[in-house]
Symmetry: D3
Subunit: 314 residues, 6 copies
């Protein structure tokens, strides 16, 4: 792909493909309808106006559609804006996918799937293994593409799988250092804990919340689904309840969305390694953008702190 | 029934039936096992020691068993204690039931069931009506005997049904005053909101918490079961989700056990009338025990306040 | 009345009466004074500039004055603004009242007064009845026109009386369901609880706070006035103290402005039904503005929540 | 007076006068009534039982009565207890007063009154001066005997006057250092701020709370009374309102009982010097009881801290 | 000095000296670099753009530089902006100092130093006196010029010394009223408590935070330095520890930056008089700007309150 | 060593060595002094009274003394008590050490020291390495014997070193999984973070707090000492400041004793792995004491939670 939108300056001509992230209709002072488009490629975002539209245009230029654009990068009220000269929907022959236009995990899907499979293979408790397998089978595709959150941490394609695989590595080491830890239970908890997000978030690109997500939230949704799947698989025994408890309690406190705090050792660890991996993801990405001797931007999900990169880091 | 334990003074002889509420084994300084029994009838509770027990005794004198006792009311470290002269399990021919020994709702089971049935009959939305009916059918017996809580409010036999029926009256009036309220939804919420307690509490008498109750709590358990039952009844549509939301949010705040606050009008009302009925139950019972011009004992579940009964109340 | 300001579009001519809600003086870059007017009718608000004013103009075009305007609806920095061509004060012969230009309670003043009178008539305790009557007599006119609050709930003409009358209906039903409740005390509490707002808020239209309102607040002001009036009526006995307590405690907690929490049964109920009626008022009005399947705007006074209207609401 | 109860050891005979602080009736295991007496002199307190009492005894040996006792100091469950051999009420001829048996302020009443009078004399604003004078006249006797609180600070006879006079000295110095401060207003605030306690606390010795104290609290009671007195004196003008505000806000925050925080300079200072004098009183008395190098007992009203007395303090 | 920038109106010509408070480089749409300057004199601030700059300009027109400017006061987006006609750095011969362009304490440096010296001279404890002397000697110049804070209170030249000297007066009076207070310790605490700010804040004019200030804060920095200096002076004994404790605890609570609360009498007083002097400074300056009958602007550091100046204040 | 005190039952004779943990003097009702001893061996604790003591006894039987005892295990008010028949101080020839009587880390001192040395050897940053080495050299002996805390976690001999070594393993793995982490900095932070406890706690056995510990706390004490040692070693550069920051911020929040929150990546990780290792230590030891299907006792330092050991754990 050519130079992305993130590398253009004011005044540059632009001629490339972009993804429509959002499209909203307005009416201009001359009474004619227009579209405000938020366009993105994998280097950044830009706003554009499409004037004097037809009802066909409205139906075509919608969210998650890929388009071919020519135009010029202008400035409007201090922000860059793309002045559109021509626009057309991408065609199958253009060979493009939505995923070409969004940020992705630094690890390939195949690798992530492989590591997940390995972890499940290591599990010895059949009840837990079967439940985990059933979930992976049911949600494999979504799991490998969804972000882990709509913002803050792992908010990119395959973010959820990336988060799970990182946490599995942490879980393995924790088990190594504290051998009393039940590895099967911890692995199962890691893999399942956030799968409810696949139904809470509406999609990979727009990641708004579904109605179910808003009214129930991913935690109770997942507790319920573990119950359904265990019923279908005719699994009984404490494993089901304990797995539900791990999911239910993994936010740690009632104020953070867990009606019960962790009351099983592996539930406590699950909460802690979830915290660590989320924080390391945010911190490492923020620190990459600054030079030694500088502070990062404020990180909202880390109590709005700004972090310092010491001079001795290079 | 004769004079109850609550009406005996220190030094009185005692000869009557009581219910064993709790039984726990200890070993005396002479090395012999004994039982500490908490006994109750519907006028109060007393502790007793049963010395030099056999393993048969251990198997017989357990919680929820009715026994015939003779003895004397003594005092030990400032508390009344029953010195047992003789003890035997009650026999079928004694014609007694556990329910004779516990406090009961001021309304009969039959009336409570009738009022529940009436309310369900009034409902017009078929999805909600069918779900509510399925629950009533499944849990009818437990529903009519369980308390609404292990302490604080409606903590007596049929307390849960009594609480529901009171709330249905409130719901009816609220609907009358604010006709925008969806009566079917509010009725369904009222009936279902606390049914999870039937699985959270271990029984009518001892009302300790089940393992499931401790690790998940009645709210997520009930959200899950609404899902299961809707699946079995093949009911789809927003009604299922909204009913789950009403149950999930009825404690009002995350800190109080609801991971989502009420986000539907009837969910907000459900939370409010649950509060009112619980508080009125506590307040009215506490104020009955004091005379005008006096304060009640401290009510733990009402921020430990003590309430005043004005002189002009007769 | 003709088409209101709320129904005009940019570019429309305007020729009608409006109420001046606020008027503030500025000095233009040419050194001449001008007025910024906030104008309203019962369909909405608009801003206007009145240039090159005389000191007469300043004295005439003040808050709560009705004016006849002609002009054109323009746009300035993205907001509608009325360009004034002519302006004159309304005359008596125009037959207009301030109340024609503001939102009103959905129930007529006469009905509200009737319901209040009925409730007072039902009271049997002479001390409470006399105190309530004295307040109604003293404040009748203001009571029937003031809003219940400057924003959030019942923030319209007769809002306070509307709130009281709604709460009286709730009180009646609560008494019906829990007959231990002292109806006279609860009625008196409902009628008096917010009357302090008549002195806390500066008026019906602008509803800013008086100095007394800012430095003392409506609760202590009302506690004091109950004392004054009881003295004048030479009423002694616990009724006075208990009524003062109901007013003092009706916000429920110190953090919410009640230095004492409710410590009398009817004080607790008063707090709860005040909550219910305020919340129902906010919720019902917000939900009227959305269609099934949509969420309302955020409701600041309900913890900033946004509420969902289910699809099955028609 | 002879050796006080605080100087007796277990086994000592006792023969002296004491004050009954509390008297409560019980029934012994033999069925006969007895009294539990809390007795005090100005060196400490002791418990005693008076067995086999008559109804005359019950009427005579009540709180705030002075009695002549002989007996022996015993020990019961680890606490000292007075075994009574004989008891009789003190007679007028014994020449004793309740105040002989309680802790007193380190400054004489006459001096306290003098300092109060001086401060009032210094005031120039006639409205404030007249209001303060009216209060002093009305409450002079109680003001000079009441404690400032039932525990924590200045909890001794004349404690309230002592607290006021100390604060007046602080006020004078603050005015000296920050001459913008309105001395009259600050003096009036200092003198009035806690007078409501004269009606909130039931007396000098037992210092329990009156009903009015429990249901309204001293702050709203005092705000009301300033209103009454200003009415009687026909004083109008902002002084009344501002004085009410100073009283209302002097606890500083809603959570601490002030529905409005200080919003006038002198209200803020009043709050701060009230804090300082209360804390210095607690601290100085606690530190007197320990040697350099030791920590005091925990001071409940200072966040349960324990304070260190450095070695270099002597 | 001539009319300051604060006295100019839009359209006025300007010809005077100003101080550059901040200077930041930008690139214009024509690709050429420019500087945005924040300029101030002791009457106020204004923004200006310096277009088409050379790299020499960039090196010369930096923060804390005094410049001679001619130009015109314009308006840009509603804010005043200085259009620069000519600019040159001030020369030594202009005889100007940075301190001519900033707000200053209302007391002269010499007086402040004198009062400090007096207080130290009064101290009798040699250990404390020597430590305090060492600090004053080391930091004298900075101490007499730094503000006490970067905003809120005493945020002007010599603000820190002014704050200390005010607090010394308060300390003297407190010692007078409560003679148990150790005056030497309290004086030492007052003088040392905020000296860490000399290393926490980067300078007198810009008062941003140093890296050390951001990562450690002035309190731990000062605790450490007291340790260093005591070591150098070979002072041992509890005085060092107690002084460190006074500094450590002077914010009063962990949430406010003191890991230990005050646990020594003088530490508690230090905390209280620090509060009083800071609040009086903020309040008095805010009230000076309003007329009787008005409220001040909101004071952020006083819980965002707005204070009322009563009508009877002249 | 023979059967320990923890394995004795009521009525057993006892004849062995124990350590006096605490000794306090009392006076019996017969007027003679006695000692209350808290005795311990490495299996548990018991109380004993030593009656009719001489002043020699008082001087001999003090805390941290080893004694030879014969007697009988009795019961007093429901708690075991050792009735002493004979007691004598242990002699050098008994070959016993205090450390024989206390709980110890499950890893030998030598191993702990070796692992510490290895970690320091791995460090490449000379400034950090030299500072860490200086501390280890200065405190080696105490470091290898002190507990990590006076209760809650690692509260046993060598507990601090055990905690550090566990955290070093976690640090190594975290660095492995997130290679951006600065291993030297994290290692140095882990080793230094709690060394202040060596001066905060008074000793290995009694672990009460020193005066310095109470008035400053281990965090500011350690920040100061890093400064002193860096000065002595003439180390300059950001390493010193960053290490001080890691120590200062390792409790994570102001409320928990860190005046600055972590503002450097490794500071955040240090806080997190400190939490994990402390929690794992508490959890694993509590769960060892219960069987599958049971709950542990309440763990105070984990929000008073009680943890469940699932049935499938064996």
């Amino acid at each position: 792909m050519k130079k992305g939108i993130g590398q253009h300056s004011i005044g540059d001509a632009f001629d490339s493909f972009m993804l429509i992230k959002e499209s909203s209709r307005g009416v201009a002072s001359n009474g004619k309808p227009f579209l405000t488009l938020i366009l993105r490629d994998n280097t950044g975002e830009i706003e554009a106006k499409l004037w004097d539209i037809t009802s066909d245009d409205e139906a075509v230029f919608v969210g998650e559609k890929i388009v071919k654009l020519t135009g010029e990068v202008n400035q409007f009220r201090g922000k860059a804006q793309l002045k559109i000269t021509s626009i057309r929907p991408a065609q199958t022959t253009d060979g493009l996918h939505v995923s070409d236009f969004v940020e992705k995990a630094p690890v390939e899907k195949e690798i992530l799937m492989e590591k997940l499979t390995e972890a499940i293979f290591e599990m010895k408790n059949p009840a837990m293994q079967r439940i985990v397998r059933a979930f992976i089978k049911k949600y494999q595709e979504a799991l490998l593409t969804y972000p882990a959150a709509s913002k803050n941490h792992h908010e990119y394609v395959s973010g959820l799988a990336h988060h799970i695989v990182s946490m599995l590595s942490l879980a393995k080491e924790i088990h190594h250092l504290y051998p009393q830890v039940n590895k099967d239970l911890l692995y199962a908890g890691v893999i399942l804990h956030d799968l409810g997000k696949l139904k809470e978030l509406s999609g990979v690109i727009t990641t708004s919340y579904t109605l179910e997500g808003k009214l129930l939230g991913h935690i109770p949704m997942m507790v319920e689904e573990i119950g359904h799947i265990a019923k279908e698989l005719q699994i009984e025994g404490e494993e089901v309840l304990i797995l539900q408890h791990l999911v239910l309690s993994h936010h740690g406190k009632a104020e953070w969305g867990s009606p019960k705090p962790p009351l099983v050792r592996e539930a406590e660890i699950l909460h802690l390694i979830d915290l660590i991996d989320a924080k390391m993801n945010m911190l490492n990405r923020a620190l990459e953008n600054v030079k030694p001797g500088e502070f990062t931007e404020r990180l909202f999900a880390m109590d709005n702190r700004t972090f310092y990169k010491p001079l001795f880091e290079e």
